[in-house]
Symmetry: C2
Subunit: 343 residues, 2 copies
DNA sequence: TGTTAGCACTCTTTCATAACGAGTGCTAAA
DNA sequence: TTTAGCACTCGTTATGAAAGAGTGCTAACA
């Protein structure tokens, strides 16, 4: 469709704009050494590229900036195989340098490094808890009326919830119940717990425990814990430094969205595996219409665990960010697989 | 020191400026019904108040705004006994309407309501964990090499940490160790745990457990958990709506500070009990020089637990915010005392 | 036929200037 | 002691001119 010359010019314009955030004019292009044509020729090509929808003008006599369609084309067809800066690679590797055991800490640190490297905002959806398998249930009575239920998963994740005890409960009953729960539910994925409790465990409890029904509903309720997986952020305020966000109103919308867990969860959830780029209005959210979101997934073995994302202006360093996400998601997957595979 | 008329004029100026964020001129003051003097008289008084340091001008011929000294005087001497709006009172009461068991949830919700009512940013320092007493220690092995230590406190707070096991550990040893720890350490305040472990528990472990020394250091290390108490925020982005933060640079500084847990912790920590107001530069942090911070403490019984704070512009609704904090800290204290006093 | 030089035109940015309004400080009169 | 009046200051807004960056188009060129 496009001639080689058009491709060249388009690519240089996009790169230039990504770097400078200023509309690119024909004269400044003609001065570049990789472009040997006169400004008039370039003007003609730019007019064509605009007609095709890849470029835009901010006003009648301004230079050109890439349109969303332009960015889309750039991302899909013009990104050369990523050659990452060595420093970037080293920075990512450094995340895994110290021996950390907690999955969450690794994830948290990834988010932080990513935002520092890019000066954009990073969002990491923590490991999906619902696929974790139950390692142990524990109930600790706090006083006559309340107790705390604690569940530990095979990945070392801990959840807890306080619930109220039925009056005059026998401590022995609690202990028996915990034993039954553990013997029957160990290694069951958290999302299956609830079903299994009513199908298999209820019968057993009925045989051994007084007052089992009021207890059971408390416990079952408690085990419904893993509602949303945890979100981690890095560089929440980085977008304030981007020149496209000089406007307070825009910033307010964006920051409000970032602060709203629900919104962010909606945006980053259920990503198909691999790397994906959403540009400008491709993100449904109006607060993000000047933003691009790049997501990558990470896994443990064959099981997809979570998502890493970078939120930046549409004028984003796509090449570099994609490179960073690729290497990070790969490394995360490798480390996690090694660390927890031998359960 | 000040005449009654000066007091009246000063108070009206402050109230007007808090409402409108605009410098207050003599003519607009003269129009108010509570002020019966001519604009010229008021001008003279304003000149005097400025000389005394209570008022400032933004430029030669502008109206007056309160100086920091002025706000300080206003807060210390001019705040009438707080008459709170009924809706405000009801909103605060609503926090405690549902029966919630988790202390953290109550605190979290308080922060949220507070920020919604005021349109400022609220910061709540969660209950000091170090004063909690140990209810139970649990150790759950995850695999051959790692285990997770869980501690539960008397207030239902749960902390956990993964640590590495010495090679070839005997499961029976772990169980014996947990029993010893629980029998010896239950009801010990968290901050005393470490000392007590080495003084009393080490000897016992030596008698009963193989390999006790390498285990002990792991455990002791694990129990050093409660580093910082948890911070909760409400309305982090509210300051973006305040007219004094039209300047992107100011916003960036402020938001960066709010996002930095260390900074915030430093600012809100170790507050003497009661309500305190820090105005403008009285806050050492330069990002806060256009802000005021009002803090209040809450307790459980006689034991001071944490701090609630509101961060707003120096042009803050002092009267209302102080009133809100008073009633909230009082109610929090009451509820918490009732809920957990009967341990 | 593709490329380029040249020129008229457009639009933004910057600067200077003027007019207006809000507000002050000071003086003199009530 | 209070107030009316007036000159003065400063910020805000509108206007216009000039400069600069960039475009589109036409005509000439290789």
């Amino acid at each position: 469709m496009l001639t080689d010359r058009q491709l060249l010019i388009f690519q240089v314009i996009v790169n230039d704009f990504i770097r400078s955030a200023q509309p690119v004019g024909s004269r400044s292009l003609a001065k570049k050494e990789e472009i040997q044509y006169s400004s008039a020729t370039i003007r003609n090509e730019m007019a064509d590229l605009e007609e095709l929808g890849f470029l835009e003008k901010t006003h009648t006599s301004s230079g050109r900036i890439p349109s969303e369609k332009g960015y889309r084309f750039y991302v899909d067809h013009l990104l050369s195989p990523q050659k990452l800066d060595k420093r970037d690679v080293n920075s990512v590797k450094s995340i895994f340098a110290e021996r950390i055991y907690e999955l969450e800490k690794i994830v948290q640190r990834s988010a932080q490094i990513l935002s520092e490297l890019t000066n954009y905002t990073s969002i990491v959806l923590g490991p999906a808890v619902k696929d974790n398998k139950l390692k142990r249930i524990q109930i600790v009575p706090l006083n006559e009326e309340t107790a705390i239920a604690i569940i530990v998963t095979d990945t070392g994740h801990v959840e807890n919830k306080i619930f109220s005890l039925p009056p005059n409960i026998d401590p022995g009953d609690i202990e028996r119940m915990v034993n039954i729960l553990n013997s029957r539910l160990t290694n069951v994925p958290l999302e299956d717990l609830n079903g299994k409790i009513y199908k298999e465990v209820a019968i057993l409890l009925k045989q051994h425990i007084h007052n089992y029904d009021s207890m059971l509903s408390s416990i079952a309720d408690t085990l419904k814990i893993p509602a949303n997986d945890k979100l981690f952020f890095g560089g929440k305020t980085n977008m304030l430094s981007q020149p496209e966000f000089h406007d307070i109103e825009k910033i307010k919308n964006l920051m409000n969205m970032i602060e709203d867990e629900e919104d962010m969860y909606e945006i980053i959830r259920k990503n198909p595996s691999g790397i994906h780029v959403k540009i400008g209005k491709e993100n449904k959210n109006t607060a993000m219409e000047n933003c691009s979101l790049i997501t990558a997934t990470y896994s443990m073995g064959a099981e997809q665990l979570g998502t890493i994302a970078i939120l930046g202006p549409t004028r984003m360093e796509y090449s570099r960010v994609i490179g960073l996400l690729q290497i990070l998601s790969h490394d995360l997957t490798t480390v996690l697989t090694k660390l927890y595979q031998n359960k």
